[in-house]
């Protein structure tokens, strides 16, 4: 089955800030014209640095806020704010910080029970309890944790709780917003394994947001590299990692430290930092930091083009 579970077309999100009584509010384009498709049981990784719009994308896809333009569909059903209530079951999110995303005053049982209480009103208390215990077993939480509070758990266990909470409503899509960045290396691999086992067992579709390229390379099927709210390169994992075409992807790959002291590689040195999303340059957003930039790059914006492996650059690598 290859039909897309999640399909997005030209998603944009604009925030307005400032603007007093007379001043005109200024626009922040957090997300511009992002399109993608994810098939059932597959993982799309969204990669980029802070401020590139990854988390905004997560918020739009999980229906926390509406897109300013563009549309997206879940299993062929167009998502509009009017249909949010019925569709939110299908997309759930796991946040980055397992310390901040669990209510310290609720027991684990209450945290996991709440989605059911609100969304599955027909279930009896005993049925809900059974479901909570079932999901706890699924993510590898021992039954005796049922009545404990979040502070009694380590970061890895808390992330298991957060994953269990996201699974309570049997979603089809899981949005994972940096699920392992706050965890130690030895615990990180436990959580990554859990996520992959769950995907296989439940046929889940993942939108995996991360800045850690070695994690992304391990878990994903397809990659979307974002820069300042736009996708600059998309493609299958092997295409993007083995033959990156956008200079930014190349720089990102070369900047990622490799745990192999024998490999002395030349780093591509990027100068400067991300431009402010308040005044995005006219042309290619990356032009100011790009070593290949020419006048054309600063004047007009390249479109995301290509067959399968798409890139938004006038002078891509490898042809």
């Amino acid at each position: 089955m290859s039909a897309a579970v999640l399909m997005a077309e030209g998603l944009s999100r604009v925030y307005e800030i400032g603007g007093g009584l007379f001043g005109k509010p200024r626009e922040i384009r957090a997300l511009s014209d992002v399109s993608f498709e994810i098939a059932r049981g597959r993982t799309l990784a969204v990669v980029g640095e802070s401020g590139c719009g990854k988390s905004t994308l997560a918020r739009v896809v999980t229906m926390i806020e509406p897109p300013s333009a563009g549309r997206f569909a879940i299993d062929g059903t167009d998502v509009t704010p009017g249909r949010w209530a019925g569709l939110r079951d299908a997309v759930q999110i796991v946040f980055q910080d397992p310390y901040g995303s669990l209510n310290p005053r609720q027991r684990i049982s209450a945290i996991l029970d709440e989605p059911l209480k609100i969304n599955r009103k027909s279930l009896s208390r005993a049925e809900r309890e059974a479901k909570v215990r079932e999901v706890m077993a699924l993510v590898g939480l021992r039954p005796e944790f049922h009545d404990r509070y979040p502070h009694m758990f380590s970061g890895g266990q808390r992330q298991r709780i957060a994953i269990a909470r996201a699974l309570m409503l049997e979603p089809r899509v899981l949005v994972l917003d940096e699920p392992v960045s706050a965890l130690d290396l030895s615990v990180q691999s436990q959580i990554l394994n859990l996520l992959m086992e769950l995907q296989e067992r439940l046929g889940l579709t993942y939108l995996f947001i991360s800045h850690d390229l070695s994690v992304v390379r391990h878990v994903c099927d397809e990659v979307m590299v974002m820069y300042l709210g736009r996708a600059v390169e998309t493609g299958a994992k092997a295409q993007v990692f083995d033959s990156p075409r956008h200079p930014y992807t190349l720089a990102l790959l070369s900047a990622t430290p490799v745990a192999d002291p024998a490999r002395r590689k030349e780093r591509i040195k990027l100068t400067g930092e991300l431009p402010s999303p308040l005044d995005i340059p006219l042309g290619c957003a990356f032009a100011a930091r790009c070593w290949k930039a020419q006048d054309r790059c600063r004047a007009e914006r390249p479109d995301l083009e290509g067959d399968g492996h798409k890139v938004a650059c006038f002078f891509p690598e490898g042809g």
Partner: protein, 321 residues
Amino acid sequence: MALLSIRNLSVEFATASGSFRAVDAIDVTVDPGDILAIVGESGSGKSVSMLALMGLLPWTATVTADEMRFDGKDLRAMTPRTRRRIIGKDIAMIFQEPMSSLNPCFTVGFQIKEGLKKHLGLDARARHARALELMEMVGIPDPVRRLSAYPHQMSGGMSQRVMIAMAIACRPRLLIADEPTTALDVTIQAQILDLLTALQAETGMALILITHDMGVVAETARRVSVQYAGQKVEEQPVGPLFATPHHPYTSALLAALPERATTRLLPTIPGVVPGQFDRPPGCLFAPRCAFADATCQNTPPPVQPPAKGLVRCHYPLGGPA
């Protein structure tokens, strides 16, 4: 002669529920111009041991050591006043979160110049010139304007550069960088690491890099010391450490790196780091170790000879024991 030599350093914190040993009998030796990385997960005592050296721990901490020498001078015997003449001047530290380590109430220029005034006694004009020079050294564009900027007006990468400028202001002979790039993006991280290694090569200072990122270690350090639950479990030059780790913990940690994975499921280390109340009587890693037996559970392991990477293990890996 070693620039810094610490023998048998332990730090205990008095907590409401009894004393907690955060650092347990650690040895650190750093030569001039050396780059030592201290690696470990959270709670392994890597930051606390360096804070103890700097004398920055709160009063609840008890620091004991058999030896704590910097440049031949015994740091333990010094009065706080003499010690403060070394700390911040000859030994400087860069902290993890640049955003919260700078004082939001003062301009960047003021914070850089403070050390110059206290330690070097430069006059205002010389301080200003030196601050500009430092800002240029760490690659901050438009230094004249940036000197009068407040920390909140700068990005994370720029704030970290300011922290580095402050740390190297008095030309330290030992720079301790505590997770200097953890809060930063990868492309900025690469810039900061390049900057630190370039400064190190230029000034010949020694660098201690505290990190949990094996990639950063592999690309930056010369020697690596691995810590686990407050103890140093292994120390080797960087090449041999990655090629033939002798401690099961180091080996498991390296295997858990996603980039080294050969299968879809990653090798994991079961369990978690022991806390205050479940410290095992024998080897601290025994409950999570794949090779542990009854001896490991009950007897604290000896420190093996340097050929075995100074590991704290009964059965070091890699070749015959």
